[in-house]
Amino acid sequence: MTATDTQMRLLIIEDDRDSADYLVKAFREVGYVADLAGDGEEGLALAASGDYDVLVVDRMLPKRDGLSLIGTLREKGNRTPVLILSALGQVDDRIKGLRAGGDDYLPKPYSFAELLARVEVLSRRRGGPAEETTYRVGDLELDRLSHRVARGKDELTLQPREFRLLEYLMKHAGQVVTRTMLLENVWDYHFDPQTNVIDVHISRLRSKIDKGFERPLLHTIRGAGYMIRDGIR
């Protein structure tokens, strides 16, 4: 895909009219081309046409269940990233969804910020710079092979987990990364902490990479999560 600099095309397969309309509107406002399918069969037909960057699929759909839709697409060799939305938020359901071929799973009710952050990550996954060995943001540099991190001329010493946290943030530089995404991808936990445990880890990381430097790189995005980027876009 060479479409990273053009508009992202998104297909929303959701039978609840209100939430579907809300999603389409919200995604269009942030610059996506968003199409809508109201049931499983229509969704499958549209998705199979193939030119979407991400599919957002409700788990329970009329005519054809969301998981079966994904399974059929994958059988046909369609690898478009799929985010599953489901009212069934439990661990087993998530695992089932991912096994069926979904790439990410978001339980309802979700915040749009969370959904958007996840869709962004999924849409960049295709052909993005994900597999480079060195990530650079401004003068911050992270070498994935030697595990070296440096800002400008200063070598930074990070704990292994801090390294993985920074690695994940830098992999998705310029994208919002939510707390849940960090907990899932850096720690591999899928529960909901009742405390601000992720914020504490972020503030430790921040004190190592941003403290004493003029330009902060690690930003808090209010109501959504964090983003690492150089300067203000």
Binding site: D92, S111, W187, P193, Q194
Partner: protein
């Protein structure tokens, strides 16, 4: 179904029929055996007597000749209840005896035979039967001695009649008994059915009648009653929980609504609207968290999560949670340590992670040491770091213990059981954020795995221990290795 139809369909009645058939068969074969044996005995007796008499009379014939024979025969034949006697000449003419007629050809062959006969002095034409022995005397005379079989026939008749009666009695008694038992059982079953129907209709306080005999129906009724007891308790629990949910979710929902309403009425600037909306989102997020926790508990309690279990090391769980929460504890002015023994566990990893995380979060929130004056003269008290929280994973026999120890105020003994219940937030914690579901979830997760959650005194403080069954046969060499991480590496 008619009452009779119902009766004959009962197990008791069907069993009765089977037994009835078996007993009738038994009675019939017993009597048959008796009849056959009696018949054999009588026949044997007759043959012995007849044989003896034949040899006596042959003897007389040998010693005293034909005249002696005839005299003896005539003499014997006149005795009351006498045997049958007949002497024939070589030409086949009867010369002495008491036999009027015989079946033809009886005298032609020697040896034993059964025959119909008529006595000389008898007027009626009825045939009798006899067992006779024909012997050839010297010079062609033939001697027949026999005995009437009437006795044997009568005895046989008596036995046959006895057989008829006994079978009839067995059948009548059996049917009567069967109906009686079946009715009795049916009566009790009907009573049970009635009660269960009342219970199904919604009256959960109903109980089945239990008799005093302690038989299988009583035991069944006792067990059903115990089950009803449990169902009633569960229903009560459910009702209590839904009441609690109603209360604890309605409160924040009301707050949410009030804020929105207030913002709508009073906010003038965009910034004010923004603040109100942000608080609304925060509030609904916390509601969602509460919902999720409740669903998680329900799921753990219903046992659905059993489908998603695998084997893993309890030490990894403890180390992972330590790693995640260590900075948070430090921010709260505490230190979080971990001490683990490698020990295999079979369970739902994510649920156990969450349970342990809840215990650690509780310890960080509520486990801060109570500021007290050190006891006089107790210089050594300082050996326990009051700000330390310890996560431990170790094996104890066939159980895996995952515990979190803090040195905060602890929970009074009286409150410990209570603390595990849903939505219970002990007085001390009311001011802290939280749903009051953390311990409930930990407890539900432990129960799901066949273990439990215990709260104990750490003198001072609280030890919360998740006891889980260890993976059987996994006490490998690794268990001996103890990883002690007393201090953070950095």
């Amino acid at each position: 179904m008619t009452a009779f139809g119902k009766l004959i369909r009962t197990t008791a009645f069907r069993l009765t029929l089977v037994y009835l058939f078996l007993f009738a068969l038994f009675a019939a074969s017993l009597l048959g055996y008796f009849a056959w044996n009696t018949r054999r005995l009588i026949t044997e007796q007759i043959t012995t007597t007849v044989n003896a008499e034949t040899s006596t009379i042959s003897d007389i014939f040998g010693r005293r000749g034909l005249r002696g024979l005839i005299a003896t025969i005539e003499n014997r034949a006149l005795r009351p209840g006498a045997n049958l006697y007949l002497v024939t000449t070589p030409a086949g003419q009867a010369i002495a005896g008491n036999v009027g007629s015989l079946a033809p050809g009886v005298m032609a062959t020697t040896g034993w035979s059964e025959t119909a006969y008529r006595r000389l002095d008898e007027q009626d034409t009825a045939d009798h039967h006899a067992l006779v022995l024909v012997t050839e005397l010297s010079s062609g005379f033939r001697l027949l001695i026999g005995r009437d079989l009437e006795e044997r026939r009568r005895l046989f008749g008596i036995v046959a009649k006895a057989a008829q009666w006994s079978v009839l009695i067995v059948v009548v008694l059996g049917l009567g008994g069967g109906i009686f038992v079946a009715r009795r059982v049916l009566h009790r079953i009907d009573a049970m059915t009635g009660t269960t129907q009342r219970i199904m209709a919604g009256d959960l306080s109903g109980r089945l009648p239990v008799g005093r005999s302690g038989d299988e129906l009583d035991r069944l009724a006792e067990n059903l009653n115990a089950m009803l007891e449990r169902i009633e308790a569960l229903m009560m629990g459910l009702k209590e929980v839904s009441d609690n949910i109603a209360h604890d979710l309605k409160t924040p929902l009301t707050r949410l609504r009030n804020r929105a309403e207030e913002a709508l009425a009073k906010s003038a600037t965009e910034a004010e609207y923004r603040t109100a909306l942000e608080r609304t989102i925060e509030e609904s997020d916390s509601l969602i968290r509460t919902f999720n926790a409740l669903l998680m508990i329900a799921r753990a309690e219903s046992g659905q999560a059993r489908g998603n279990m695998d084997n893993f090391d309890a030490a990894d769980v403890a180390n992972g949670i330590h790693e995640l929460y260590e900075p948070l504890a430090e921010d709260g002015g505490m230190t979080l340590h971990v001490r683990t023994e490698s020990t295999q566990l079979h369970g739902n990893r994510e649920l156990i992670n969450q349970a342990l995380a809840n215990l650690v979060e509780n310890a960080i929130k509520y486990g801060k040491p109570v500021p007290t004056a050190p006891p006089p003269g107790a210089g050594a008290v300082g050996t326990v770091d009051q700000k330390e929280i310890l996560i431990e994973a170790r094996r104890d026999g066939d159980r895996v213990l995952l515990s979190v120890t803090d040195h905060g105020p602890g929970i009074p003994v009286a409150d410990r059981k209570h603390a595990v219940e849903r939505f219970v937030r002990l007085e001390a914690s009311r001011t802290q954020p939280g749903s009051g579901l953390g311990l409930s979830l930990a407890s539900a997760v432990a129960t799901l795995h066949g273990g439990d959650l215990k709260l104990d005194d750490a003198h001072p403080g609280l030890i919360a221990t998740l006891t889980l069954p260890a993976l059987s046969g996994a006490s490998d060499g690794l268990a001996a290795q103890t990883h002690d991480v007393p201090q953070k590496a950095a």
